[in-house]
Symmetry: C2
Subunit: 298 residues, 2 copies
């Protein structure tokens, strides 16, 4: 079915109006978008062939990696990282319209833990007495507020405010304005590589997972040597727990190039010779937000 | 007031019955323990001299770093890391006694996001239809369940079950049994160093923060070289976002030794010569759980 371009389905972290839905629609505007309740549910749906792909958040510029995505991918549901898109993130405080004028007297703020963390200073400065209540997503918070009679607010994006008929009482309230999130498209390896034929690609990345043989002095230094002498640039290196006890880590390394026939296989061979386990999680195009938006407005 | 050993106060992430309270009481059994609502609140209390120290979680063996602790320490409230204790973590499913027999029919499970993540497989296998609701802490979940008439459950520790009169219906339900959390004592630099006079110290660590001058190829490799040729062992290296945009990171490095007069200053000088910014966040004794428990049972 090479070159096939018929209607496909994509799972995203819902509910409707979430940041992930906005990212999924920017990256894959012509597919059918289906909300799922959690990141693992999105990935399970791909594995069970209920959908063709999943779009999930991977890393936020302020809060760092979305651990559940990496951990579920590594430990439970291995699939291919097939594309990346980085979207700007703005949080807004929103209430039901009847509470819009007295929002400083709200009793509680609902949102996803990462959104709450992103607005920590704002919440302390403006509504220090409001209770903090966590939800599975920012859009779920907006939905909950819209269905409640109580004097409560949600931190969520503009799409959620219009989706659920809420009034934005204070916009762009995230403490750091330069905020964005990397979303990743996950799919089974067998799916055709239509992402590579799309416009708007800014660069390629290859993500690998490296497990060190033993926790010996200088092991990571040796691993990095394999990249350094080849002048291969790494855009990220992150340690994650092996889940076998404190102090046991593996490393996720983002390489700033497409998997080639010479350099990356050379690194892999060298790391294996050092006793490391090396797995390629994906080699994929990265899309710029502005480029995708421009394509859609054409 | 050198050598002073009178009653001091310690802030911990509450409410009563939390894992952090258990850790605080093991490390500092003779101090007054005061619960605070959030990790930043604990650290603010130290800064405002409302308490002498704070005990907060730093890293979980399964879920990785507790980002809010590191980020608040780095970006908002710099203070000294003064001691570390690693405590075993077991999550238990608990309900009000009247619901203990039909726990498989509960409508919702309440807990902290990290505890929910730690029991992900258990929840899917045993109570897949129960809604997931997040709380600020596992103990808060237990407290909430104890005050509710609904058919709900909490994931929390044994101390919480007895503190709030709940029945443990399924014990040790965390997916990975080898679970533990590193807790850290934070204090102002001026406090006397009574931790170093305590029994139960297993080793020393020095934690430093390194900011690379530019995101150039091989920068981290050069940083690690400064440790490798001195045969200094690193127990952890972690990248965290600078909060200035995706791709800008600093590194938190745990060195397996006490800050000395030769090796660590040598590393610092070398890294500064490379254009890095280096800050020592603390050099502190690490306490073994079994040793602390044995001391208290003497």
């Amino acid at each position: 079915m090479e070159g096939e371009n018929n209607m496909k389905t994509v799972a995203y972290l819902g509910p409707k109006g979430s940041f992930t839905e906005v990212a999924a629609k920017a990256l894959l505007p012509n597919e059918t978008h289906i909300p799922f309740r959690s990141i693992p549910d999105c990935m399970d749906a791909v594995n069970e062939d209920a959908v063709d792909r999943a779009i999930v958040p991977l890393e936020n510029a302020i809060e760092g990696s979305v651990n559940i995505t990496l951990d579920y991918l590594i430990h439970h549901q291995r699939m291919e990282m097939a594309a990346e898109v980085t979207a700007p993130i703005f949080q807004n405080l929103m209430t039901n319209k009847k509470h819009a004028d007295d929002w400083k007297e709200i009793d509680a703020v609902y949102s996803h833990p990462q959104a709450i963390a992103q607005c920590h200073q704002f919440l302390r400065n403006y509504i220090p007495n409001a209770e903090i209540r966590y939800t599975n997503s920012t859009a779920e918070a907006a939905k909950f507020v819209s269905e409640s009679e109580e004097k409560i607010a949600a931190l969520a994006n503009e799409t959620s405010a219009s989706e659920y008929g809420l009034a934005i009482v204070k916009s762009k309230v995230n403490d750091y304005k330069n905020n964005s999130t990397r979303f990743i498209a996950l799919q089974k390896g067998s799916l055709n590589k239509s992402f590579e034929q799309m416009d708007g690609v800014s660069l390629y990345k290859t993500t690998i997972m490296v497990t060190l043989p033993l926790d010996y002095t200088g092991a990571l230094h040796q691993v990095l040597s394999a990249f350094a002498w080849r002048k291969i640039n790494l855009s990220k290196i992150e340690s994650r727990p092996m889940k076998t006890g404190l102090g046991n880590y593996f490393f996720i390394i983002d390489i700033d190039m497409k998997k080639d026939e010479v350099l990356i296989p050379g690194v892999q061979e060298e790391l294996k010779a050092l006793g490391c386990k090396v797995e390629v999680l994906g080699s994929y195009p990265c899309f710029q937000w502005e480029a995708l938006c421009a394509l859609q407005n054409k």
